[in-house]
């Protein structure tokens, strides 16, 4: 097992090198650099040259790549141009905020999708099934910011049930439980909206999975044992329907840390998505490249985790 994991991890190296080269090449090709992007009205041509030299932007691209790659090997992603602090620190500052809602979303959407999927499979072609299907289409047809605005309008502005945005109440000096409660309250809307957005596809997934499983012989066996329908569905069928889905969990890994650019803006959530977007717009290469590589590593790790999870979840392929 550990040998396998080590080998897979080693295999990631060439892929990562490839990704780093491509990503770097793209950053070179993108029009503009940090100096032009920051559009300082007072910037003279001389000063611009000085700054480029200071940031190493004047070096030949290949040399820049090797400097960057070498630093990366020792865990140094460089300093963010715009934040004037180490990229790792910037990521660390914002990424957890994104993680919190992404994680809550993950849990919630899986639970809901599982239940809804199971029910709409069990009552295939029923009214419930049709309503769910239509709802899924509806959510797919609208941009995410739209659903976000809708939620803000109803729950924050009209009914005032929830805060309009942000992560904490301004000036709140609470800690411990009070703090958690406050953050929790602010989380409700973004998490709910993100859940509605991701739950649709998952529901379809679970539904198909359940439909498949329900036809299996062992479900017939379970019924023949005289078990209650509930036991049959939730114990015998659901466990099996969950198996292929579990592989998807690994693929969620980069999503957990990737941030949600648009919704973070709509809900004013201090996540990494907005920061990443800004780093792109401002050509803050260290941050942009660093975070991209961070996500690339997570993507590859996610693939690995998927494979491992699959083995863990399904006794048929569990390692001896």
């Amino acid at each position: 097992m550990s040998q396998y994991i080590i080998r897979r991890l080693l295999q990631m190296i060439p892929t990562l090198i490839g990704i780093s080269i491509i990503v770097f090449a793209i950053s070179q090709m993108v029009p503009g650099d940090y100096i032009t992007a920051s559009q300082n009205p007072n910037m003279t041509a001389e000063r611009a040259d000085q700054l480029r030299a200071l940031y190493g932007l004047d070096l030949p691209p290949v040399q820049q790549y090797f400097i960057w790659a070498k630093n990366m090997l020792v865990g140094n992603l460089g300093d963010s141009f715009q934040h004037k602090m180490p990229v790792t620190e910037v990521i660390n500052t914002y990424v957890w905020n994104s993680f919190v809602i992404a994680f809550a979303t993950l849990i919630l959407s899986w639970v809901i999708a599982a239940f809804v999927g199971v029910f709409s499979a069990q009552f295939q072609y029923s009214f419930f099934d049709k309503v769910v299907t239509l709802l899924v289409f509806l959510l797919m047809s609208l941009p995410s910011f739209f659903i976000g605005l809708l939620a803000i309008k109803y729950f924050a502005l009209d009914t005032k049930l929830l805060p309009t945005g942000g992560m904490t109440t301004a000036g709140l000096n609470a800690s411990g439980f009070e703090y958690l409660k406050d953050v929790g309250l602010h989380m409700i809307m973004p998490v709910a909206v993100m859940t509605t957005l991701s739950v649709g596809g998952l529901t379809r997934y679970f539904r198909t999975g359940m439909l498949e499983v329900i036809r299996q012989d062992y479900i017939r066996t379970a019924r023949a044992k005289g078990l209650k329908e509930r036991t049959v569905i939730f114990k015998h069928a659901f466990r099996n329907a969950l198996l292929p889905a579990i592989t998807l969990l690994g693929f969620e890994l980069p999503g957990l840390f990737g941030g949600a650019m648009i919704l973070e803006r709509v809900f004013n959530w201090p996540g990494i998505g907005q920061i990443y977007l800004a780093s792109l717009n401002l050509r803050d290469y260290p941050l942009m490249l660093g975070f991209t590589m961070f996500l690339a590593v997570l993507t590859l790790l996610g693939n690995l985790i998927s494979d491992i999870l699959y083995g863990v979840a399904d006794p048929r392929i569990r390692l001896k």
């Binding site: 009205p41 004013n268 401002l282």
Partner: protein, 568 residues
């Protein structure tokens, strides 16, 4: 100085660049505008009924919450890049001089400034009662320390300190000297700076420096490496009216009044900068969750804000203007008649009306109408005139072809136009421009691009026309219209204009400068190097419970925060 895309609004730094001489107040100029309903639309509207104020807001008896776009956490006046970091720095770091409502400067940390007759030696005296929030005095050597950081070879802030021409600055920067020979600390509170060359901005530049407590910041500083200074970005310490007590990235900055502030303790004990976004910032004001915020100006928003009754609405002219650049090096636009025709032939008034309603105005010179340098004498307003445009094109030799498109020497008049998307002006400009030019017999091919991509095209000179906007600083000096100027986007070149700008920069007398720039603007107006479009406005909405503001297009709201009080 002039330049900078308005797109990058978040980065328009406000390094003051004005001589401290009197001019007319900006408001006077504003009312001289030939605008239709602008008098009523632009300006300050007091809350009609503070009594309707929101309980949430009223409950904050000892604090105010100010909505802002998220700062980046670079809380150091030497290094910050966005206005939102600057909003913080305004409160914490006073400099020797500060801007006034009219765009001129007055003393702040300094209580006396002496300038030698040759304009090359500046002696600043720092107020005796000026102390940092940790109680230690602000000293002349702190000023020197700040200059050292500026001139350090690893300094990567936005300022261009070498251009200040401080004697010995270059040597320090290159590491050949360990001190700046042109800066002398006379005593604890007095410092003398010598420059090798001067111009209208020298005093502004030097006065704009913020002394940094060497005791606090300088412990680990070594020449050639400012990273130890940047390490303090998250915990700023200065002599300003407030001190930062807590910073939560992306969420809020909390302040506490600096009781020892030399201008008197601020009236509001606690301040919070809360991060808001333009989707909800208006709603938050309405709900009383914030006391002040920048709101996009448009009819909907103004109406909403005024309807609350308890919000002051302050609509201020923006220091900047939008324009459509024409590539003067392109044979298409090298003929002044063509450029004029394109200006006459575009219904700019309609574009502006469509985009901003009454909250922006068409302009004809590249200067804000609130500036002392503004003029409308002998300025052609280029009012929309299709016939005139057509005849100018005819004169230039562009005649209509069989397909209705003008041609000359077998070449069709087809223009590529690049603009960034998602901008209210562009939304209105594209359809109107397309249609207007079609009438002239010009085919407009439009593309929308990422802003940086447009800038890159501009740098390469590989473009016909693009839309962009400039932010203006108070001083009219600029490189936008001088031959090969750093910010000259359109390749415009007129030796007379070059000479006028050079003269204006060196002249210190404001009345003389006024004349020089008026002449330059008249020439530019006649040459029509680009199609000047509009000057728009900004809007501040402020809860009526806060009084005592002193805000102008030049003087941003944080500068008067220390004198604002909560009304009973």
């Amino acid at each position: 100085a002039c330049g900078g895309g308005e797109e990058a609004a978040s980065t328009d730094t406000t390094t003051p660049t004005e001589t401290a001489t009197d001019t007319t107040t900006p408001d006077e100029t504003a009312t001289e505008e030939t605008g239709t309903d602008s008098e009523s639309a632009i300006g300050f509207t007091e809350a009609t009924d503070v009594a309707t104020n929101n309980d949430v807001a009223l409950a904050r008896t000892d604090s105010a919450i100010i909505g802002t776009v998220a700062p980046q956490g670079v809380f150091n006046p030497l290094f910050h890049q966005t206005s939102y970091d600057y909003y913080v720095d305004y409160l914490v770091f006073p400099s020797l001089t500060k801007v006034k409502t009219d765009g001129t400067y007055e003393n702040d940390l300094a209580d006396d400034i002496k300038i030698s007759d040759d304009n090359k030696t500046y002696t600043f005296h720092i107020r005796d009662d000026a102390n940092y929030s940790d109680g230690t005095p602000v000293t002349a050597s702190d000023y020197l320390f700040a200059l050292k950081i500026y001139l350090d070879s690893s300094y990567d802030g936005q300022a261009d300190p070498l251009s200040w021409n401080i004697v010995g600055g270059k040597e320090y920067n290159e590491g050949t000297a360990t001190d700046i020979s042109g800066v002398k600390v006379i005593d604890d509170k007095t410092v003398e700076v010598t420059v090798s060359d001067y111009d209208a901005m020298t005093q502004v530049n030097l006065g704009g420096v913020t002394p940094l407590s060497e005791a606090y910041y300088g412990k680990d500083y070594k020449q050639g490496d400012v990273s130890s200074i940047k390490a303090f970005n998250g915990k700023p310490m200065g002599a300003g009216p407030y001190k930062v007590t807590k910073y939560t990235a992306g969420q809020e900055v909390d302040f506490e009044a600096n009781e020892g502030y030399y201008d008197g303790a601020p009236k509001i004990p606690k301040l919070i900068y809360k991060v808001t976004t333009d989707t909800t910032n208006l709603a938050m004001l309405q709900a009383g969750e914030t006391d002040l915020d920048n709101i996009t100006v448009n009819e909907d928003n103004v109406e909403e804000l005024k309807a609350t009754g308890f919000l002051d609405v302050d609509i201020l002219k923006n220091n900047g203007y939008g324009y459509v650049a024409m590539n003067n090096n392109n044979p298409l636009f090298s003929d002044v008649k063509v450029r004029q025709a394109l200006t006459y032939g575009l219904n700019r008034a309609e574009v502006v009306e469509a985009a901003y309603g009454p909250y922006a105005e068409v302009i004809n010179i590249p200067q804000s109408d609130v500036s002392w340098a503004y003029t409308d004498e002998n300025i052609d307003p280029y009012d929309y005139d299709v016939e005139k445009a057509k005849s100018l094109l005819d004169e230039a030799g562009w005649v209509e072809g069989a397909d209705g498109i003008r041609e000359k020497d077998g070449k069709k008049f087809e223009v590529n136009f690049s603009a960034t998307a998602d901008n209210p002006v562009v939304d209105a400009l594209i359809p109107i421009m397309t249609e207007n030019y079609e009438q002239l017999g010009i085919k407009l091919v439009v593309e929308t691009l990422d802003f940086n991509a447009i800038m890159e095209k501009k740098d390469k000179g590989d473009y016909d026309m693009f839309f962009a906007a400039w932010g203006l600083t108070p001083d009219p000096d600029s490189t936008v219209y001088i031959t090969d100027g750093a910010q000259n986007n359109s390749g415009y070149s007129n030796p007379e204009v070059d000479a006028l700008y050079a003269k204006g920069k060196k002249e210190l007398d404001i009345n003389e400068r006024k004349k020089i720039y008026a002449e330059a603007y008249q020439k530019i107006n006649a040459d029509a190097p680009e199609i000047l479009m509009y000057q728009r406005t900004n809007m501040l909405a402020i809860n009526g419970r806060l009084d005592g503001w002193d805000i102008s297009p030049y003087k941003d709201f944080p500068l008067s925060l220390h004198q604002v009080e909560i009304a009973e």
